[in-house]
C-alpha cells in the first residue's frame, strides 16, 4: 500500500511541480503582494500588512477609467458580437452554394494577427488635419459630414472604434461554434415542425434556440471573460500609452503597474488583479446560474 502511494506521488510529481511553480506559487504570491503595504521592489521591504493597496487602486483615476472602459467594452461587445454571430450563422446554414467560401471568409479574422488588424483599423478610422484621412473619414466627407478622428479624437469615438474592433475580432470563433451547433440540430426536428405547420419564427424560438442554448451560454461566458481580459486590442489601436489615451483596460492597468514607466508596483498590480478576478468570478457565477435555469426549462 505504502509502495503504491509512493508510486502514485512519483507519477504525479511532474504535474505537481509544474502547477506548483507556474500556478500555485504565483497565485499565492499575488495574494501576498496585494496585502503588503508600501512594498519596494528594490529593497524587497514593506511596512505593514493590510488592505491599503486595494484602497489606493480603487481611488486611482486611471484604474477607475480602466474599469469604466472595460465594462463598456464587455456590456456592448458580448451581446452584440454573439447576436451578430448568431444571425450570420443562421444565414450561413441556410445557404447551400458558396457556403464553404463564406465560412472561410468569416473565419479569416481568427487567424489574422491582432496587431495587423489593429493597424488596419487605425488606418481606416484615423483622421488628422495633416491630411491623414482614413477610409471612414473619407466616406463621411463624401456624405457631407464632419469627420472625427476615431483614434485620437473624443472618448466616444475611441470607445466606438474599440467596440467595433473587438466585435470584429471575436466574431469568427463564435460563428464557428454556432454554425456547428446549428448543424447538429437534427433535421427531423425541423421536418416534424414543418409537418405541424410551425411558423419560421416559432421554429426558431421554440426549437432552434433551445437546441443551441448551451452553446450560446458557453459563448456568452467565454465572451465575458475574454472581454474583461482585453488589453492587446487596445494597444494595437492606440499604442502602449493607454492611460494618456484614456483607453486603458483593467488588464492594461495591471500591466502598467508592473512594467511601464510608472511601473514597479507589484502590490498595486496584485490588488487590481484580485479585484478583476472578483468581478469575473461574480459575473461568471451569475451567468452559470442564469444558464442553468434557462437551459433546463
Amino acid at each position: 500500500m505504502d509502495k503504491q502511494n509512493r508510486k502514485a506521488w512519483l507519477y504525479l510529481l511532474p504535474a505537481i511541480l509544474f502547477l506548483g511553480v507556474f500556478m500555485i506559487y504565483p497565485l499565492a504570491d499575488v495574494l501576498i503582494y496585494s496585502v503588503e503595504e508600501n512594498f519596494r521592489s528594490a529593497s524587497q521591504t514593506y511596512t505593514g500588512v493590510g488592505l491599503e493597496n486595494f484602497s489606493v487602486v480603487l481611488r486611482s483615476p486611471d484604474f477607475l477609467q480602466a474599469v469604466k472602459n472595460t465594462f463598456i467594452l464587455v456590456i456592448i461587445t458580448v451581446p452584440v458580437s454573439t447576436g451578430i454571430a448568431l444571425l450570420i450563422s443562421l444565414g450561413l446554414s441556410s445557404i447551400q452554394p458558396l457556403r464553404k467560401l463564406y465560412q472561410t471568409i468569416y473565419f479569416l479574422p481568427y487567424v489574422t494577427n491582432t496587431l495587423a488588424v489593429g493597424l488596419v483599423f487605425m488606418l481606416i478610422f484615423q483622421y488628422d488635419q495633416d491630411g491623414g484621412a482614413g477610409l471612414f473619414a473619407m466616406l463621411l466627407q463624401a456624405l457631407g459630414m464632419q469627420p472625427v478622428d476615431f483614434i485620437q479624437g473624443p472618448y466616444w469615438a475611441k470607445i466606438t472604434v474599440t467596440c467595433l474592433y473587438t466585435v470584429w475580432v471575436v466574431m469568427p470563433f463564435k460563428i464557428l461554434i454556432l454554425t456547428s451547433a446549428l448543424a447538429s440540430v437534427p433535421q427531423s426536428y425541423y421536418n416534424a415542425a414543418k409537418i405541424d405547420g410551425t411558423s419560421k419564427w416559432r421554429t426558431f424560438t421554440r426549437i432552434t434556440l433551445p437546441s443551441i442554448a448551451p452553446m450560446i451560454f458557453y459563448l456568452i461566458i467565454t465572451g465575458f471573460i475574454g472581454a474583461f481580459k482585453a488589453y492587446s486590442d487596445e494597444v494595437a489601436l492606440f499604442g502602449v500609452n493607454l492611460n494618456e489615451a484614456g483607453m486603458n483596460t483593467m488588464v492594461g492597468f495591471i500591466y502598467d503597474k508592473l512594467y511601464s514607466d510608472g511601473g514597479g508596483y507589484p502590490s498595486y498590480a496584485s490588488a487590481a488583479a484580485l479585484i478583476l478576478f472578483a468581478i469575473v468570478l461574480t459575473i461568471t457565477v451569475i451567468n452559470l446560474m442564469v444558464s442553468k435555469k434557462t437551459v433546463n426549462s
Partner: protein, 381 residues
C-alpha cells in the same frame, strides 16, 4: 378511446382514402457520370380509407421517399397525390393534414411530454386557433389513447424508446390528421418492445380509424399488422395485396424471396412434358407450362417427408424448435444454400440418416421465368 374516435367523425376530418397517380420522384445526380436516381417510379395505387398499409422493401428502395412525397416534405417530379377527392400534390405539408412519426421519434428534447404533444396544436392560427382548455383536453385524449397519461411531465430523455415512440404517435395524432404516416416506427426498439408496439400501433389505428401508411424493411412487421402490403424494389412497386395473398401468391421472384421466415428455397429447374425437374428428380406435375428452364421457389413448409418422395436431399442438420423441426438440406439443383424445410416434429428423420426424401406441396411451389423472374402460372388441375 371511443370518445376519441367519435371526435374524429364529428370534426369532419375522419379517414381519407389516399390515391397516388403516376407518382415519380427523380433525384438528379451531382456528377455527370452517374445516372439519376429514380427513387419512386410511376406509383399508381389507391389506399382505401381507414386501412393500415405497410410499405415494404429493402433499404434504399425508395419507401421513405414515397412517404415524404405523401406528407409533402418532398415534391414529386411528376404525378399526383389525392387525399379523398382533394388534389394535395401542390399543398405544403402543414395544409395536408398529415401526422408523421419519425424513425428516431424527433421529440423535442427540451420540452416535456405534454409540451411535445401540445406543440402542433399551438401552431393553429386564426379561426383554427383553439382555446387553452380545448388544447388540454385534446392532449389528454391523445395521451390516453397511447397510454402515457402518467408520463406527461417527463422529458423524452427520461423515457424508454417504446414510451418515446408512443409520445411521437400521440403528437402525430393530436391534431387529428387525415392520414397518419409512420417511418420505420419500430426499428429503434428492441425485439420484445417491437412486438408489443406493433400491436399497439394496430390497436391505435383500429380505434381511430385513420388511414395509416407505415414504412418498414421488416417483412414480418408488415405482414403482422397491415391490411395491405405494398412491396417495393428500386423505386418500383412489385406487388400490392393482402399480406397472406402476397405470401401465397407472389408475383415475382423478388417478392417470393423477400417475404417469409425462413426465406423461400430457390432451385434451378427444368420443365419437360409438363413435369418440373430439379436435377434428375421429376418432382411435380406443372400443367400448362411449356418446356423451359425456370427458377423454382419452394416455401419451407412446402416439403412433405415421404419414404418414396421424388425429391432427394442431403440431410445436413436438424434444428428442433419444439412444435416444428427445421431441417437443413442440401441439393445440387439448389441456388439458396442452405435449404431449409419446416416439418412437424413427429416426421423428423432419425439422427443417423444421411438423406431424406420429400414430396412437394403444389401450392407452395412457385415457378419464375429465368430472365424476367416473373411468375409462371401453373394451370390448376
Amino acid at each position: 378511446m371511443a370518445f376519441f374516435s367519435t371526435y374524429y367523425e364529428c370534426e369532419g376530418c375522419d379517414a381519407m382514402k389516399v390515391v397516388l397517380q403516376n407518382l415519380t420522384k427523380i433525384f438528379p445526380n451531382r456528377t455527370k457520370k452517374m445516372p439519376d436516381v429514380i427513387a419512386v417510379n410511376n406509383f399508381n395505387f389507391e389506399i382505401p380509407d381507414g386501412q393500415l398499409i405497410g410499405l415494404l422493401g429493402p433499404s434504399g428502395c425508395g419507401k421513405s421517399t414515397a412517404l415524404n412525397l405523401i406528407c409533402g416534405l418532398e415534391k414529386p417530379s411528376s404525378g399526383k397525390i389525392f387525399f379523398g377527392e382533394e388534389d394535395v400534390t401542390e399543398l405544403p405539408p402543414e395544409n395536408r393534414g398529415v401526422g408523421l412519426v419519425f424513425q428516431n421519434y424527433a421529440l423535442y428534447p427540451h420540452m416535456t411530454v405534454r409540451q411535445n404533444i401540445m406543440f402542433p396544436l399551438q401552431n393553429f392560427k386564426g379561426k383554427d386557433k383553439l382555446p387553452k382548455a380545448e388544447m388540454e383536453k385534446r392532449v389528454e385524449e391523445a395521451a390516453r389513447l397511447v397510454q402515457i397519461e402518467r408520463l406527461m411531465d417527463r422529458k423524452p430523455s427520461q423515457m424508454s424508446g417504446g414510451q418515446q415512440q408512443r409520445v411521437a404517435i400521440a403528437r402525430a395524432l393530436v391534431k387529428m390528421p387525415r392520414v397518419l404516416l409512420l417511418d420505420e416506427p419500430l426499428s429503434n426498439l428492441d425485439a420484445r418492445l417491437r412486438l408489443q408496439t406493433r400491436e399497439e400501433i394496430r390497436r391505435i389505428q383500429r380505434n381511430t380509424g385513420i388511414t395509416t401508411i407505415f414504412v418498414t424493411h421488416d417483412q414480418e412487421e408488415a405482414m403482422s399488422i397491415s391490411d395491405l402490403i405494398v412491396v417495393m424494389k428500386e423505386g418500383v412497386i412489385q406487388q400490392i395485396d393482402q399480406p397472406q395473398r402476397v405470401y401465397d401468391d407472389p408475383k415475382n421472384l423478388f417478392v417470393a424471396k423477400f417475404l417469409g421466415t425462413p426465406p423461400i428455397n430457390v432451385f434451378e429447374g427444368t420443365v419437360r412434358n409438363e413435369t418440373l425437374y430439379l436435377g434428375q428428380d421429376g418432382v411435380l406435375r406443372v400443367p400448362g407450362v411449356g418446356d423451359r428452364d425456370v427458377w423454382v421457389g419452394v416455401r419451407p413448409e412446402g416439403f412433405v417427408p415421404q419414404e418414396a418422395g421424388p425429391l432427394c436431399c442431403e440431410l445436413k442438420a436438424l434444428e428442433v424448435m419444439g412444435r416444428d423441426t427445421s431441417v437443413v438440406l442440401g441439393n445440387p439443383a439448389a441456388v439458396s444454400d442452405p435449404l431449409r424445410a419446416i416439418i412437424s416434429a413427429e416426421h423428423a428423420a432419425a439422427p443417423g440418416d444421411k438423406e431424406m426424401r420429400f414430396a412437394l406441396k403444389p401450392n407452395k411451389v412457385f415457378l419464375f421465368d429465368k430472365e424476367t423472374e416473373e411468375r409462371i402460372r401453373v394451370r390448376a388441375e
